[in-house]
């Protein structure tokens, strides 16, 4: 960064490099305007009572929102739901994604066609997936509900979206349906780039398929898996659309993630200040997780 400013002020590396820096400056200004300013404004908001209604003026309240967030039992519960959701959805997506990617990589014919078909859910807007889920799990005419009831899996469940655990699981299924293909694509790309000589040598030594997956594929694919995990983790923490369309966080907050809580505070209760506090906290958690993943990829895995 200091080099950048040196360049601008005409220090060392004058000439062509200086022109380059001036050329990227507008882009940086735009980035500052559309990204940094809102970020700083959000942090400022988190220290304010900003009700967004005309009869009450915004006031600076110091750490009040932050104290409220750390002492609020409900906020802890929203984080727990987010965590449970992340663990549930990510485990299923990674396992399924790996299996499907492995199967696709073994295909000799029509691999491209099947890969293309796999990606179809990715092209649906999350809101549409939510609406589809509402239709499929509908108590009166939902086809999934019908089959689940026929095989006796919904015994004691009054309705899928009206019963906490069932609603939670249904939402995980929707996420898995939509986003597993992304994991498949990332892992498939990784699988294709693995050095084939090692596998050929192992096969000469008589390795079984399971051994091959466990001792060769997984360790070699570790970095790619971590990248997929990182991308999906950041997405899952923001998980919002499906919930809003289907359960709106209910019943009894069983499906209320931190993102839905932010929406409720900001756009339902008009409490922009507290919503900003929750947003910043979500951002911090995401950054910490991202940092951990990156360290894992670039650090330990290198050893």
């Amino acid at each position: 960064m200091s080099g950048f400013f040196k360049g601008l002020s005409g220090g060392e590396d004058m000439g062509f490099r200086n022109v380059e820096l001036w050329m990227v400056l507008p882009a940086i200004c735009v980035l500052v305007f559309i990204s940094v300013y809102p970020f700083v404004f959000t942090i400022r908001l988190s220290f304010m009572d900003y009700p967004m209604i005309v009869t009450r003026n915004p006031i600076f309240t110091g750490f009040k929102n932050w104290i409220r967030m750390f002492s609020d039992v409900k906020t802890r519960q929203y984080w727990m739901v987010t965590l449970k959701y992340a663990v549930g959805a990510l485990s299923l997506e990674m396992v399924l994604g790996f299996i499907v990617a492995l199967l696709l990589s073994k295909l000799r014919f029509l691999q491209d066609l099947f890969t293309a078909l796999m990606t179809v859910p990715l092209f649906f807007a999350p809101v549409l997936v939510g609406l589809l889920g509402r239709f499929l799990f509908h108590e009166s005419y939902g086809i999934y509900t019908y089959f689940l009831r026929q095989v006796g899996l919904l015994r004691g469940v009054p309705s899928i979206f009206g019963y906490g655990p069932a609603a939670f699981f249904a939402l995980i299924c929707l996420d898995v349906w939509e986003w597993t293909p992304l994991v498949v694509i990332i892992l498939l790309a990784g699988l294709k780039s693995l050095p084939q000589e090692i596998f050929e040598a192992a096969q000469v030594d008589g390795i079984t398929t399971l051994q091959e997956v466990w001792y060769l594929t997984l360790p070699l694919l570790k970095r790619v898996i971590l990248v997929a995990l990182l991308v999906r983790t950041m997405d899952v923490i923001k998980y919002f659309d499906h919930i809003l369309v289907t359960t709106r966080g209910g019943p009894a907050d069983a499906t209320k993630t931190i993102s839905v809580a932010v929406y409720d505070q900001a756009f339902q209760a008009y409490q922009m200040g507290y919503a900003a506090t929750l947003t910043v906290s979500a951002l911090v958690v995401t950054m910490v997780l991202a940092q951990l993943f990156v360290r894992f990829v670039t650090g330990r895995s290198m050893e």
């Binding site: 009206g162 019963y163 966080g249 907050d253 339902q268």
Partner: protein, 474 residues
């Protein structure tokens, strides 16, 4: 010099007055023609909005003012309005004043339309032709002299039931239970419970007697309110919260013995006899379930859903639906929850656009448009429409879905039957979230009715500032 200025001023007043007096009715409507005014009308997607959109070419022809309409669901509408009005934007001219969510929070930035009523250069609306209850509920906030909306629609909770089922089993039920079960204000809530239970056990045509809209959302608050008010409970100490509105509502009264009794009854109703899916249904899903035909025999829902029930492409119960006033409360009267909306003008737009918006408001409240609203399945908000000979014929013959329910609606809108349920306070939405969240906890068994009501009171008092006020006064 002063005399000359005074004389010129007087002449100007007299001239403008004479000009105004001399404006013909047509000139009042066409004064903005050719000025390129385009109004943006943001509304909930209601039958009334549908009727207005279908008639817009007539308005544009009459006034030369173009209108762009955005129709959306109420949640998105509130969010959009909150952002637009909160930012002081003049993007939207005419606002669907979403019940109690926008009116109290943004009353200061909505135009006082009484100034247009007194303007001789503009056409007027006979305000006394609106139902008084609707006018108070939709058009004022705190200040009884500052009118910031005009009534537009009149969504009211009524009792829908399957007439065919009730006719078929009437004698059998009467023989067993000893009373006529026809839905209406003579049926108590305990009897309603008994009827639900009886249908569950004896009527094979439907899976359950009744469905409810107990999803953790606005619908749960509305559904519970039907019971809440009938049991004699009140929302806040300040009675103005139920009419003109209040900035300070006083203490929240949801922990009163009546409120707790209502909560216990509601929990029993939903968890013991109602359709089990009720906890996942909002008003739209509930209507879908009723329209499906084999799910439920009764539901309480907004009266506009009659249009859906009578639409053969969306309903299997066409011609089989009866409507009635809500059950009898502890005080002996029916409590019909009114949640109508008004139309307002954005105070951030310039004066000439405000006047153009006023023309739009007057036009949509006019009798021909109101009759069109009737045809589209909703119910007009002008009293005189119901006196129109053609409309009387429609009602007599049940020509349109709106006509079929009109007699019940006219009864429901009487002062003695109507209930202003949503507290008209600036923090209404915040309190609403608290209320339906704890009600949902109660239905899931995570809180007892007493605990739920106690927590609601604690949190609502925090939200309204009552707790802080009490602390400061100590």
């Amino acid at each position: 010099m002063r005399r000359v200025v005074g004389l010129v001023f007087l002449c100007a007043i007299v001239l403008s007055g004479t000009f105004a007096m001399s404006m013909t009715e047509e000139e009042k409507w066409t004064q903005f023609s050719g000025k390129g005014i385009v109004l943006h009308f943001l509304t909930e997607d209601t039958p009334a909005a549908g009727a207005i959109v279908s008639l817009l070419p007539e308005f544009e022809k009459k006034t030369g003012i173009k209108v762009e309409v955005t129709r959306t669901n109420v949640a998105d509408l509130v969010t959009k309005l909150m952002l637009e009005l909160g930012a002081g934007s003049s993007e939207i001219d005419v606002i669907y004043n979403a019940r109690w969510q926008i009116l109290p929070a943004f009353s200061d930035v909505l135009v006082d339309v009484s100034k247009f009523q007194q303007d001789p250069t503009l056409p007027h609306i006979p305000m006394d032709d609106f139902f008084k209850a609707h006018l108070i509920a939709t058009s004022f906030f705190v200040d009884e002299k500052r009118q910031i909306a005009i009534p537009h629609d009149a969504s009211t909770m009524i009792w829908f039931y399957r007439k065919d089922i009730f006719d078929k089993y009437r004698e059998q039920f009467m023989a067993e239970k000893g009373y006529d079960w026809t839905p209406g204000p003579n049926i108590t809530w305990d009897q309603y419970y008994e009827i639900c239970d009886w249908i569950n056990k004896n009527v094979p045509e439907v899976k359950y007697g009744a469905g409810h809209m107990a999803k953790q959302w606005n619908s749960l608050y509305c559904d519970f309110s039907n019971v809440f008010w009938s049991f004699g409970a009140r929302g806040f100490e300040n009675p103005k919260t139920e009419s003109y509105g209040a900035i300070f509502p006083g203490r929240c009264l949801w922990d009163s013995p009546e409120a707790i009794e209502a909560a216990k009854f509601y929990k029993k109703l939903i968890t013991e006899v109602a359709h089990p899916s009720s906890v996942g249904w909002d008003w739209a899903s509930l209507a879908e379930a009723f329209a499906k035909g084999d799910e439920i025999a009764m539901c309480f829902n907004w009266h506009d859903y009659m249009m859906m029930f009578e639409d053969p492409t969306r309903s299997k119960v066409v011609g089989k639906v009866g409507v009635a006033l809500m059950p009898k409360g502890k005080d002996g009267r029916s409590h019909n929850y009114y949640s109508g909306a008004g139309l307002s003008i954005n105070g951030y737009i310039p004066e000439d656009r405000q006047k153009a918006a006023w023309l739009f408001l007057v036009w949509q409240a006019d009798i021909p448009v109101q009759k069109e609203i009737f045809k589209m399945g909703s119910t007009p908000v002008r009293k005189s429409v119901y006196e129109d000979p053609e409309v009387k014929d429609w009602i007599r013959n049940g020509t349109y879905p709106g006509a079929k329910i009109a007699p019940v609606m006219l009864e429901a809108w009487k002062e003695e039957n109507l209930e202003y349920v949503e507290a008209k306070i600036p923090q209404f939405v915040e309190t609403l979230i608290i209320q339906y969240t704890h009600l949902s906890y109660m239905l899931e068994g995570k809180e007892t009715p007493e605990e739920a009501m106690k927590r609601i009171v604690e949190e609502v008092n925090q939200a309204t500032g009552y707790s802080k006020l009490i602390e400061q006064s100590k």
